[in-house]
Amino acid sequence: MSVPRALSSTVGTTSSDARMRRRRAGLLEREASLGVLLMVPGALLLMVFMAYPFFLGIWLSLTDSMIGRMGRFVGLRNFVDLLGDDIFLQTTKNTFVYAMVTVPFKATLGLGLALVLNRAIRFSNGIRAAVMMPWIVPTALSTLGWFMIFDPVFSPISWLLRHLGLATRNVNFLGDPVLAISSVCLANIWRGIPFFGIIILAGLQAVPNELHEAAAIDGATTWQRFRHVTVPAIKGVVLIATLLSIIWTFADFQLIYVLTKGGPANQTHIFGTYAYQIGLAATEIGTGATIALYMFPILAFFAVLLLLYLRRED
């Protein structure tokens, strides 16, 4: 046990009186036992409601379970069957499109927002609070705003297009396959810009002003300063935000659920919504769990990248 070493490391300057008291307190005073003890409440919750469901999900994916009925072991049949399911293949494609289209937009527009906010001195707190709204208010509720903005009858965009003479009829944003996936991407980009913006802004503000001034004195142009002072300073946060955003977008649910429920004709289903439809609406919880698990390797890949990067930085 590491107890003696742990004790001696903390005793140091204390009086022998305190040392006696500490010995008596035992379990709660020894680093090793106290440390383990403090982990218990949180670890218990994480084990029962996160780790256990994770393994249960793996088990379910290997069975033909329906809701309320534990099924038989069927090996990898669910995984194989899904590969022959056109809707699943469409879902996979949609998810990649959804993540790979939105993340670059969110990152670029977020960077732009950060650069603008960094220079806007006046009303900066108010403006910062305002631009963060898409990220902080409940997504399901703000998506209802988009739901109406994309409505075939009440869309203000359609109204504007008609009145500008650019369209003769209302646009069916969520009813046409290509428009539908573009529309959900637009709403997702809208929601994600502030996250990138505020994280990159924090990175920008960590750059000492003297650095910019010194570069300017040395005759660096605005672009050179951006390239050689700003970029190195924010590279790390941009990478972290991008990896987080990829993970979250891949595993999204509510935005699609509220806007299209995966329609029209499954053209906007992503893993989360398709797993919900098969696992709960169609009660095939085994197959649903399999759909969700197909996300796992992708999520794990980006999670490990993030972890490795953070470790290297430490």
């Binding site: 919750l45 994770f54 927002l113 109204w159």
Partner: protein, 281 residues
């Protein structure tokens, strides 16, 4: 930098982009607000400019409070968010302190585990978790959310608090212990009062996440009176007819306002919460 073109350049490079961002990022909220303040009939009047209010009314809000379960949803959301946040903070303070200050077997491994737990999305777990909740007979009880939300909150909050605890000089703690405080007393009397900003960040962040959560609430709280604001609004207020827009938007606005207010009071704490993992120093 000083010159006659300066103002023009500022307009082009600063105020114009800023205005574009504000327009894009705030328009949906503007739209939701004005629709919630219009009589439904006005939406059908094609000669009206839809971007403005012709007849101001609070009818949609009255309808929301008198004819829907909205007040129940508010109560449910408040209870779940508050208790879940408190539970998460309690667990996270202990974990954060243990990981920041104590050496114990497996602490490195647990630290990485907690970080990875932060990256586990609800969509990966909701089906088996639904099974667990059914087994524990927690469907349509507050406990279903109070016990599951912390899995999304503890990893982040522990991480954030760990950072705060590490930034407190060890000497303060050691002298308290020399004066006879036990470790737990030191944590409660010395460390926690010094970590109020960190606790605020973690608390606000957790509360916001609870308030905004959708998937677990959608599945575990399916009976009308037990729904949260987000779920109730999405699943109960969209009706087959086209007369629902006003109350739908009113509910969406009211469900967003508390978070917006909370946030604007604590912008700094929220941002430091958001960036805790991403920005060092």
């Amino acid at each position: 930098m000083v010159g006659s073109g300066r103002l023009g350049r500022q307009v082009l490079s600063l105020y114009l982009p800023l205005a574009a961002y504000l327009l894009f990022l705030l328009f949906p909220f503007y739209w939701m607000s004005i629709v919630s303040l219009k009589p439904t009939n006005d939406l059908f009047e094609m000669q009206y400019n839809p971007f403005w209010i012709q007849h101001l009314t609070l009818e949609n809000y009255r309808y929301l409070f008198e004819n829907t379960a909205f007040p129940e949803w508010v109560k449910n959301t408040l209870i779940v968010s508050t208790v879940s946040t408190a539970l998460s903070l309690f667990c996270s303070v202990l974990i954060g302190y243990a990981l920041a200050r104590l050496r114990f077997p497996g602490s490195n491994f647990l630290g990485v585990g907690i970080f990875l737990a932060y990256l586990v999305p609800p969509t990966l777990l909701f089906l088996p978790l639904a099974h667990v909740i059914a087994r524990l007979n927690l469907y349509n009880t507050y406990w279903a959310l109070i016990l599951t939300y912390p899995t999304q909150l503890i990893p982040f909050a522990s991480w954030l608090l760990m950072g705060y605890f590490r930034s407190i000089p060890k000497e303060i703690e050691e002298s308290a212990m020399a004066d006879g405080c036990s470790r737990l007393q030191t944590l409660v009397r010395i460390i926690l009062p010094l970590s109020v900003p960190g606790l605020l960040s973690a608390g606000i962040f957790s509360f916001t996440l609870c308030w905004n959560e959708f998937l677990y609430a959608l599945i575990f709280m399916s009976s009308g009176a037990m729904k949260t604001i987000a779920v109730g609004t999405v699943s109960d207020l969209i009706k087959a007819d086209t007369l629902f827009w006003g109350s739908l938007m009113a509910s969406a606005v009211l469900g967003s306002v508390p978070i917006a207010i909370l946030y604007s009071f604590f912008v700094k704490h929220y941002v430091s919460g958001l960036t805790a993992g991403a920005v060092k120093g």
